[in-house]
Symmetry: C2
Subunit: 385 residues, 2 copies
């Protein structure tokens, strides 16, 4: 039996190239904001979990757990969680389990990544740590190349066109233009995507999420505490995680992310919902093709149909099934560890009717899907007002 | 209220320079051994947590969670936990919380580190990720240097002599000589320690734990399942974690590891014991001085007295308060992520009277103390037969 847990505060920094802020400063800024929104003081925090992927490779800094508690001048249990690009949602899961176990009643969950102080080559190499280093890294694969393979296979199997795929980032940039913290707030066209510089055929620069600095933070509380502290609390009513092989080449299919389906089935069951009940979702669009695979994995479209839905405009904030209203990883930016927590924040704000210009009208049940690697880790969380 | 959790199986590789085994192979070996000892099959494992610190820097591999579930051909939730050298014990804590939350009844907890494929300089740099990179790393500090500062301060405050300090590794090597998996199984003398090459004054090579490859694994189960599956199960009856500043220079004292005291107080309270009830302990002797600080932090000696106890031989397996009967980090070796789980395995074996030549006679309550950095994270777990 899954015990629901409340989100009673959120905090997020601007996402972008933040050369004047350090890893620690970004983390601290988000941490203080979530405390402020929850109207609690640091000493109310009993435990901290922080998602981060690349601080070792990009800043020479591990042990972010201790940094997070030091930022609040606390001595509480504080741990870094890593599962590649799913690190943020995994940190949320750790927070849920801490509360459900009775070990804590109020937990802070953070995500942080500082990526723009080094070269693009260093970042690309660091990100390959999410794949299978022996099988994929040594062979010279990069993540754009691996997702390009998935895109090619999907195009061949389902007849997806280049233009249909381009509808994904076009929609993301439209949403980003309405999100003040987004890295890119400029709209783009299908032509912009198709004619952008090629990264890994068929994926152009406009199919690829950017390199980003940023941090995000939420405060989780047990049901009784959350009800007391915040009448606007949003509830996490389902949470699941599934894994698959590290290497793409070892998977059963290139056109399905099995771990998404497995995680969604369990999380939806815990929440007592089906995919039909989902009003909006934040999914892991590290590359355009990943968004389509996510939508299908969550059961929000049949296999092979998500591209047509995208091209038909179904995924805009004011359409049938709003996807990535924050702008997604593509336009909001993708500070790796911060992304999973940011997805939760966007859903919380939507469910609280606090999403401003990009507010979804009917937003009572929202879902996040956060992916590590090419689908070796997937976390699905379900939120309810 | 802390719910006790059973350890129903253990698995560990040889510790040492294992050039013929990869990170994945080491992890898989330990994983399969713990399943074998618990007499369960991979599909009985509902969740996996794996402690690892440096695989990113030393092998280019993150996302060890997915690797661990792939090794067992599973799709279950599987997460990497990192808190520098305390990663292993933090993974155990994650496993405890998963079981206590009701999310799983059987959990595998692993630790792994592959350190000897690169240069000593690369390892030393990677390990600095455990400290404060901005304050300590940029200033050129290394971990031997930071612990040397602590040793000097302790010598000045409590009159500890060079020979008394040397008693720590002499005892560790004696214990290591009785442990078939230990990296060093050769006894050494006080003279060997004092006259060894200086690493960071006053710490010589023989005061420093080595660079090691290795992996360790345990199977945790809820009380009812553990009782059913293994009548010899050892119980974790208390577990706590505390944090302190990342940088040594920001601490209140150089001669006390405050986080050890804080974590021990809570863990002992959960277990319903005091330090007087502890029969044996595995503590984090990354450097000789660290063992003395750990013993005092656990309340097993008064401040300033642990060195005299060491010199008087109190900490041998057949003496008053056996410490690090496996040989400790110094002689057994220190494959970072594997260490915290290995400490648990040694205590489990002692409590099961399965520790061979180094068996402690009265071994009913044992404690592990695992440290990250210079004390920025400390985990204390209490085990009972």
């Amino acid at each position: 039996m899954f015990m629901k847990v409340g989100v009673i505060g959120t905090g997020i920094t601007k996402f972008g190239e933040l050369w004047d802020k350090s890893l620690r400063e970004l983390l601290a800024e988000a941490q203080l904001k979530s405390l402020e929104e929850a109207k609690i003081s640091p000493k109310d925090v009993e435990m901290i979990f922080t998602g981060n992927m690349c601080a070792d490779a990009l800043s020479g800094q591990l042990h972010i757990g201790a940094m997070a508690s030091e930022n609040l001048n606390l001595n509480v249990p504080s741990t870094r969680i890593e599962g590649a690009c799913a690190s943020g949602a995994l940190a949320i899961r750790a927070g849920l389990q801490a509360i459900e176990s009775g070990a804590a009643k109020i937990v802070q969950v953070n995500g942080v990544e500082k990526m723009t102080d080094v070269s693009v080559e260093q970042v690309t190499t660091a990100l390959m740590g999410a794949g299978d280093e022996e099988v994929e890294g040594f062979a010279g694969a990069t993540f754009p190349a691996l997702y390009a393979l998935m895109a090619r296979a999907y195009m061949k199997e389902f007849g997806l066109t280049r233009e249909e795929l381009a509808a994904v980032p076009v929609k993301s940039h439209k949403h980003g233009s309405m999100n003040p913290i987004a890295q890119f707030q400029r709209e783009i066209t299908v032509d912009d995507v198709v004619n952008a510089v090629m990264v890994s055929d068929p994926l152009t620069l406009m199919d690829c999420s950017p390199i980003t600095d940023g941090a995000s933070s939420i405060i989780l509380a047990s049901e009784s505490i959350a009800k007391k502290l915040n009448p606007e609390a949003v509830w996490i009513v389902g949470s699941s995680q599934a894994t698959d092989t590290l290497a793409l080449s070892a998977r059963e299919s290139l056109t399905e992310v099995k771990a998404t389906r497995l995680a969604a089935e369990k999380a939806f069951k815990q929440a007592g919902i089906t995919s039909k009940d989902v009003h909006l979702a934040e999914v892991h669009d590290c590359f355009s093709i990943a968004e389509l695979l996510a939508i299908e994995g969550l059961g929000l479209a049949k296999k092979g149909e998500a591209g047509k839905h995208a091209a038909a405009g179904f995924h805009y904030f004011d359409s049938k099934i709003p996807i990535n209203t924050c702008g997604g990883l593509k336009a909001c930016g993708h500070p790796i560890g911060a992304t999973g927590v940011k997805q939760a924040i966007e859903i919380v704000h939507q469910l609280q009717q606090m999403a401003g210009k990009r507010q979804v009208k009917k937003a009572e049940i929202g879902v996040t899907q956060n992916v590590g690697g090419t689908g070796a880790t997937v976390v699905v969380n379900v939120f309810k007002r």
